[in-house]
């Protein structure tokens, strides 16, 4: 546990939010997330943001005797990325790896595994949004869902950037960071009032200092962007280790913790031969975590059929 000043300790106790949720010991090794917090998961395309949501959902809904929190979760899926098959695989992995000894003995029976999975899935609530309007109304519908299902503690949104270009029209221009900030404010209010933890995903470049000038291109030439044209920061990226998605200060203040997923450049040899999948190197990724107290650390992972495969440091 980190040492905190007396002032911080007293204000923490006074606020009454002693509950912390130990969501994932790999990502948050020093314990918990507090109700009311917002966590942002950002990353390039195909780095595993949606997959990480599945991993975290599994940890939330699985029973405590399988290493889970046995709590409820809501997933607002704007990108049709929810896959029940993937979630079942991930849950199987967690159950088999982390079952307590008394439970582990019963796992020879495949129906036992299924029973645990089905019971866990009862704690998952899915909302599929195919338009900005559906998304906005879904946020309004959350309070009544919280009342109906009080065990729901986590809200995951994949992703917060999906409907931006619906909102930003020629008649109603709005910057990406303004758009994100508006949603984060609503979510923060919701999270604090109802004592929930909110996780949201977004592409790295969204609402970042890079600007949106490469969002639409027909050829390799530069398309004249509308918002934040050019102006990329000169921060050098050392094979993807350093985070590049730091938003403008306005959004940053609303986000409590940040996870940035990044693919690592593989020094791959000559092009792999036809059909010889053994030649394809496993793609390595890193997760750069920035906690609210400014602590930062890196974790490495591979992606396989069972989800995230965290590599020992």
């Amino acid at each position: 546990m980190s040492i905190e000043s007396a002032f911080v300790a007293i204000s923490r106790l006074a606020s009454g939010s002693e509950t912390t949720y130990n969501l994932d010991p790999t990502l948050f090794p020093d314990g918990g997330l507090r109700p009311g917090e917002l966590i942002e998961i950002s990353g390039e395309s195909n780095c595993g943001k949606s997959l990480l949501c599945h991993e975290l959902i599994a940890r939330i809904i699985l029973p405590t005797n399988c290493g889970g929190l046995e709590l409820g979760a809501v997933l607002i899926d704007c990108e049709s990325s929810y896959s029940k098959a993937t979630l079942l695989n991930i849950m199987e992995k967690h159950i088999l790896n982390q079952a307590e000894p008394t439970l582990a003995r019963t796992l020879d029976d495949p129906r036992q595994l299924e029973r645990i999975q089905q019971a866990a899935l009862k704690r998952l609530h899915l909302i599929f949004c195919y338009s900005l309007e559906q998304f906005e109304f879904s946020l309004l519908a959350l309070p009544s869902l919280f009342v109906k299902h009080p065990e729901v503690t986590f809200v995951l949104i994949d992703s917060i950037a999906t409907f931006y270009w619906t909102k930003c029209t020629a008649k109603n221009l709005i910057r990406q960071d303004t758009y994100q900030r508006a949603h984060c404010k609503t979510l923060s209010r919701l999270a604090c009032k109802w004592k929930k933890v909110v996780l949201l995903t977004k592409p790295t470049h969204f609402a970042s200092r890079q600007g949106s000038w490469r969002d639409f291109e027909t050829t390799g030439s530069i398309a004249v962007g509308l918002l934040d044209a050019g102006g990329g920061s000169t921060q050098s990226s050392v094979s993807g280790y350093l985070p590049s998605s730091i938003g403008t200060p306005a959004v940053s203040s609303l986000i409590d913790h940040r996870i940035e997923l990044c693919e690592m450049d593989n020094p791959s040899p000559s092009r792999p031969a036809t059909g010889a999948s053994a030649d394809v190197d496993d793609q390595r990724f890193n997760a750069f975590v920035t906690m609210g107290d400014k602590r930062q650390y890196v974790r490495f992972y591979l992606i396989d059929k069972f989800g995230f495969n965290w590599l020992e440091a």
Partner: protein, 328 residues
């Protein structure tokens, strides 16, 4: 997508009279109505509090995203749609997944259209319907007939006629029209006439969005791309349709002014990246890269590689041949 306006047919308690009063107070959309405090609405409409709360709750339920309990949600169908091409089926671990969005990306002439036509041929031979949206007038009935004729089994003239009738071809020349057609399909109106739609092919996207090449800002094309992908996702998941999109792979132009390390986009091994910009990169669930190989002078071969995918390993490759009877 404009926010839905308030109208009398939304709810029995929202009469024309009530709506006029709301409009006088500048509440014209359903969303603005639902966001406003109950007390204020009582003042404006003179309706009792219980009625207002009831209307608000019912409208919220109606307009919010579709709710499913994790347990009740059914798993994706395990029966895949075979492409009819053995190497491609192997690469895709069985075939196309109904409900998934695929993109075939490649340079001009790399065989994307032929691959799409071969897959369509196979789908209709299995007695399902396929929709082919043609933006470049590349679809040739004669070519399709040739592919069907050289297939596994010889078809009678009548069978051939029925099979070709299961291919619905539509020529579309503007992005707005495309979005409209997809939105209509997503509402499921094709189900009313008993069409067993299993596959939708859009060939190709850049030819429509190139209309925006010289425009000063990207807001409109991106807005349309958002609408398109959202409607495609709705069509795919709600009606278990596999979707195949065709896109171009463009070359990076060297020495772009102001391109910093972060602004660079992820390149595929041969130095290309998908057209339509960074926003579209993450739109399809699986992106396959087609590359023409010049190794064999007698037969035309192409390599098909997984560029990115939610459920396939990136980098997996296979080789196919381009023949008169389609792709083998």
């Amino acid at each position: 997508m404009a926010a839905t306006r308030l109208s009398a047919d939304l709810h029995p308690l929202l009469t024309e009279y009530v709506i006029k009063k709301l409009q006088k107070n500048r509440l014209t959309t359903v969303y603005s109505f639902v966001k406003v405090e109950v007390e204020q609405l009582i003042r404006i409409t003179n309706l009792p509090a219980e009625s207002i709360v009831l209307v608000k709750n019912q409208l919220t339920d109606q307009f919010a995203g579709q709710y499913r309990s994790g347990q009740a949600h059914t798993t994706e169908p395990t029966v895949r749609l075979s492409t009819g091409i053995y190497p491609v089926d192997t690469l895709l671990q069985g075939g196309l997944i109904p409900g998934h969005i695929y993109e075939f990306c490649g340079e001009s002439g790399s065989g994307k259209t032929l691959l799409c036509m071969t897959i369509v041929a196979n789908v209709v031979l299995q007695r399902s319907t396929a929709y082919y949206i043609d933006t470049k007038c590349d679809f040739s009935g004669r070519k399709m007939q040739q592919i069907l004729d050289r297939g596994q089994r010889k078809l009678t003239e009548q069978e051939l006629g029925h099979t070709m009738a299961r291919i619905k071809v539509e020529r579309i020349f503007s992005p707005e029209q495309l979005v409209q057609v997809v939105e209509e399909l997503a509402t499921g109106k094709h189900l009313t006439d008993g069409t067993d739609l299993k596959l939708l092919v859009i060939d190709s996207l850049p030819s429509l969005w190139y209309l925006y090449q010289d425009s000063q800002n990207s807001v409109e094309p991106l807005g349309l791309l958002t609408k398109l992908i959202c409607s495609l996702r709705k069509l795919a998941t709600q009606h278990a349709v596999a979707i195949v999109l065709v896109n171009l792979a463009v070359r990076m132009i060297e020495g772009m002014a102001g391109s910093t390390a972060e602004a660079k986009r992820k390149l595929c091994p041969n130095g290309n990246y998908p057209a339509l910009g960074r926003y579209w990169e993450s739109a399809p669930g699986t992106r396959l890269l087609l590359e023409r190989e010049d190794d064999h002078p007698e037969t035309i071969t192409c390599s098909v590689m997984v560029w990115k995918s939610n459920n396939l390993r990136s980098g997996e490759r296979t080789i196919v041949r381009m023949t008169d009877a389609g792709v083998r």
